[in-house]
Symmetry: C2
Subunit: 197 residues, 2 copies
DNA sequence: GTCTATACGAAGATAGAC
DNA sequence: GTCTATCTTCGTATAGAC
């Protein structure tokens, strides 16, 4: 479990990032939110804030991949259903105040901080490819898997932004239903989502 | 055209917002980018930065609605093609460094600044409804129009974030093609996009 | 690994002159 | 409407002790 203080800062930063964006995720806020010790900040993150943001982006990226591995859907619709359910829980678990931490990094990072932008981009690519791989595994063609995975990622990221702003889950559910239905037709089966973690 | 200085600040803020997010869109940056006079800042925006952000959000919202009115697509696929082409030009016109200014507000605004969040949400709703209205006008059913408009908005917002981070237009084009194709099947005709402004 | 103290800069905001 | 201070707050970052 490595340094628990370090990990506390990272998970705290992830929560703040998803709720308030990158600039509001200051060291002070992270410390206040987590109770982590101030004195060890630059001991754990010699690279300063950019390093904390980078580690947090990586952590969030892997956390989603891990969550996907907790279930094993057997149909394309199930794969998409699990994916959308994961994001739905981010909204509902935060009173619709949180979104995607990686998107926050992508939106808030300027042309300087090129490394952060690139990192966010590679996390998005990982997510897209992981989804596509799972769709293929349950019988969808490679071509369609790539397409549906990409569309699902983009639509979810957008739906998070839109629904968070609207403080309503309605549009999110409609988008999710459409994506699931796209997985149901022409891929493998017509089953509904079989995972909701 | 009202106060030109005021408008200069708003359009400048819009550009910065789309490129670097809300917190990086400081007064200093807006002034530096536009050459607008510093002394008149709180004359034009007595409410401070939040007021500038709010005005900018409204402006960007109306600017897209106005751009949609510049063409008159005659098929669902044409409507979606025009919409995606508008967003594509945001990416290509900025070397893939700009995204959606309204999304930047939505992501960066904290639970305080509730008015800004609400405003961003209402702009998204306006865009969604404007798209749906146009789809209906060219013959798509009300139900399908609502769905496709919402999916297109969400997917475009997400694609902007993802592709900006990846510094590649490839995924954007694939998402746009899928959306257009969803408009082509079962709506009106099968025509390709007929607007690219 | 953790602490305190502090330097430094940037940003929002206000006051008062022109 | 515009200018020039100026105030205050906050955030990053460093130094050096424990």
């Amino acid at each position: 479990m490595a340094s628990s203080t370090r990990q506390t800062m990272i998970t705290g930063a992830a929560a703040l990032l998803a709720r308030r964006g990158m600039s509001a995720t200051s060291f002070s806020e992270v410390l206040a939110a987590t109770g982590a010790p101030r004195g060890s900040l630059y001991h754990h993150f010699p690279g300063g804030k950019d390093e904390l943001m980078a580690e947090t982006t990586r952590y969030v990226g892997n956390r989603l991949l891990g969550a996907l591995d907790l279930a094993d859907p057997t149909t394309p619709a199930g794969v998409i259903g699990q994916f959308t359910a994961l994001w739905r829980s981010v909204l509902t678990g935060s009173e619709l105040e949180a979104g995607c931490a990686v998107a926050a990094v992508a939106v808030d990072a300027g042309p300087e901080q090129e490394q952060l932008v690139e990192l966010a981009g590679s996390v998005f690519a990982e997510w897209r490819d992981a989804l596509a791989r799972r769709l293929e595994r349950v019988g969808m063609s490679q071509e369609r898997s790539r397409d549906l995975a990409l569309l699902s990622l983009a639509a979810m990221e957008g739906a998070l932004v839109v629904c968070r702003a609207q403080r309503s889950i309605e549009d999110f559910d409609r988008v999710a239903a459409m994506l699931v239905s796209l997985g149901g037709s022409g891929g493998g089966g017509g089953a509904a989502a079989d995972a909701h973690g």
